[in-house]
């Protein structure tokens, strides 16, 4: 096969893999904003916490799958505690106060992570079953990245089923459009909020675990990937899942093909894309809330 073409294909799959990771983080952020109106600046920190907890489980038991299972659940518990203890009692401080509050909680979590695990890079090996390459359209490609794509798609389908096929999903969608009305109908909105916050942070945790073997685990992880996910969320329109999905795939391609063609200016491409979209439509591609 033509080597140029095979390079294009492998870069394309790279792009999809990175885009799916971004989507996992961004969708949690987006759904939390859409429903609760809280812009969770600590979301990227939860993502990093997932990676660290998985690392801890792997060093304790040596089993990656256990880490994938336990890590995100622990992250979700931390997220629920944050919602229950802090955000619920900070209703009267306004959006701006909530923003700074999530930022403060985020920096506390980062400080605790640095205290426990230090600041150096922690390598996390790819699990045995997923090591090696596979031949795909004549291109050999690492299995692990394909697994990441598969995992993300599985979670995406799970989320869609949850949102559009269950009673709980109906309540959540109703609360996104008008939470006071849902509350007036006798639904315990606080419980739903807690659940949504838990799901959102759980997805961030899964993304953290998925990316840990690729990028290794280090305290700069939240800044590096978190900023990208935040940009995805904003460009796609806060609170919109389809928007987050489309933009994260576009950004995945932009970053992988950008590195190939204009390696110097790859990060600029994403930001320029965001600036152009927001200049034309300030609420983002699919955003409705101002």
């Amino acid at each position: 096969m033509d080597p140029t073409l095979s390079m294009y294909i492998s870069q394309g799959i790279h792009g999809i893999a990175y885009g799916m990771i971004l989507f996992l983080i961004a969708s949690g952020l987006s759904i939390i904003f859409g429903m609760m109106g809280i812009l969770n600046l600590a979301h990227a920190v939860f993502f990093m916490l997932g990676a660290y907890l998985c690392y801890a489980v792997v060093t304790l038991t040596g089993n990656f799958w256990l880490g994938l299972l336990i890590g995100p659940v622990l992250v979700a518990i931390v997220g629920i505690v944050m919602e229950r203890v802090f955000l619920r009692y900070a209703k009267n401080v306004g959006h701006f106060g909530e923003l700074i509050l999530t930022m403060g909680i985020g920096s506390v979590i980062v400080a605790v992570i640095k205290m426990i695990w230090g600041t150096e890079n922690k390598p996390l090996p790819v699990p045995e079953q997923l090591q090696g390459m596979v031949n795909l359209f004549g291109v050999s490609y690492p299995i692990y990245r394909l697994f990441v794509i598969g995992l993300s798609v599985a979670i995406l389908i799970f989320m869609l089923l949850l949102l559009y096929r269950t009673r709980l999903g109906k309540i959540v969608r109703a609360a996104v459009s008008d939470r006071d009305m849902v509350n007036a109908l006798g639904i315990n909105i606080n419980l739903v909020f807690m659940f949504v916050f838990g799901i959102g942070t759980w997805m961030a945790g899964v993304a953290g675990v998925a990316i840990a073997p690729i990028l290794t685990v280090f305290p700069g992880l939240s800044d590096q990937v978190g900023m990208d996910a935040f940009i995805v969320c904003v460009t796609g329109g806060l609170g919109s899942l389809p928007g987050a999905f489309i933009v994260s795939i576009v950004f995945g391609f932009l970053s992988s093909y950008g590195v190939q063609f204009v390696s110097q200016f790859a990060p600029v491409l994403m930001v320029i894309f965001m600036a152009i979209v927001l200049a034309i439509k300030p609420v983002g591609l699919f955003g409705t809330k101002g």
């Binding site: 800044d223 600029v268 320029i272």
Partner: protein, 327 residues
Amino acid sequence: MNKTMRNIALWLVLFAFLAFFPSLFGVYYTNMVVTFAIFSVYAISLNMLMGYTGLLSFGHSMFFGFGGYGTALALRHIEGIGLIPAIGIGAGAAVLLALILCPLVTRVSGTAFAMLHLAFGQLMYVMALKLYTITGGEDGIGNFPIPGIFTESLKSSPENFYYIAMVILILCVFLMWYFTKTPFGQVQVGIRDNDMRIAYLGYKIPQSKAVIYVAASLFAGVAGSLYGLSHNLVSADGSLGIWMAFSPMIYIMIGGVGYFFGPMLGTAIFQLVDELVLRYTESTELVMGIVLVLVIMFLPGGFMGVFDKLANKLKARTSKREEEKTT
């Protein structure tokens, strides 16, 4: 002694204290005061947008950074330029950027305004990193000449730099204070609280916002320019990074949103805590995070809010006593 006399005396004491500060406390604390003054001006300029006009900006750092880069580039590339023109070029660069962005950003408000600024702030940050032939990339522009006004160079004399910086910064604070006291400053608050009504009163909302926006960016530019001069270094992470965009918001939140001197108080508290914490432990993040959470949970109006409440209580008590006297 009446009230105006007392006020004048207080101001004189304050200025005398500031004038003798370098000889009393030495270089270390002098530099600290300069940093405090720079960040106060920066935070107050953001508060003009955020607290007074209700426009939340995630990218105010781009004006700060433009001020720094403008001054640094002018000092490096223009032969024999004076200090004041160089600072003017920095502030002018910030104003130019604001004028370019104006038509775009004044149409929106709320979250969209914040996000648009996040986009442009990040754009400027990444551009500063990538256009390294102009900006020096990650290293930034360092070791540029700093001419004095009366002396040859300010590099070896922090006292002289202190006086020049303090005069400029105090002037900035006074101008901003004056700006909020004008009738136009009241229109700002009106736009924040009910922009529809201000529009019905015959004010043009986007144009009014634009004037405030440009003024805020001017003062942020001056602050950024002096920050670059005080470190003799302007870098992408130091002046344009995301932390520089969020830190003034934290100062404002700790001090009190919407109070003119709130950001100043917040900057002072933040710097003090930073200074004290660094003596005992490395993890300032932890302490800062805890302070932020506690302030927002228990003091939603910031520290100025607490003072305001106490003053009100005191006033209520004295007026009650006077009432009792008269009856």
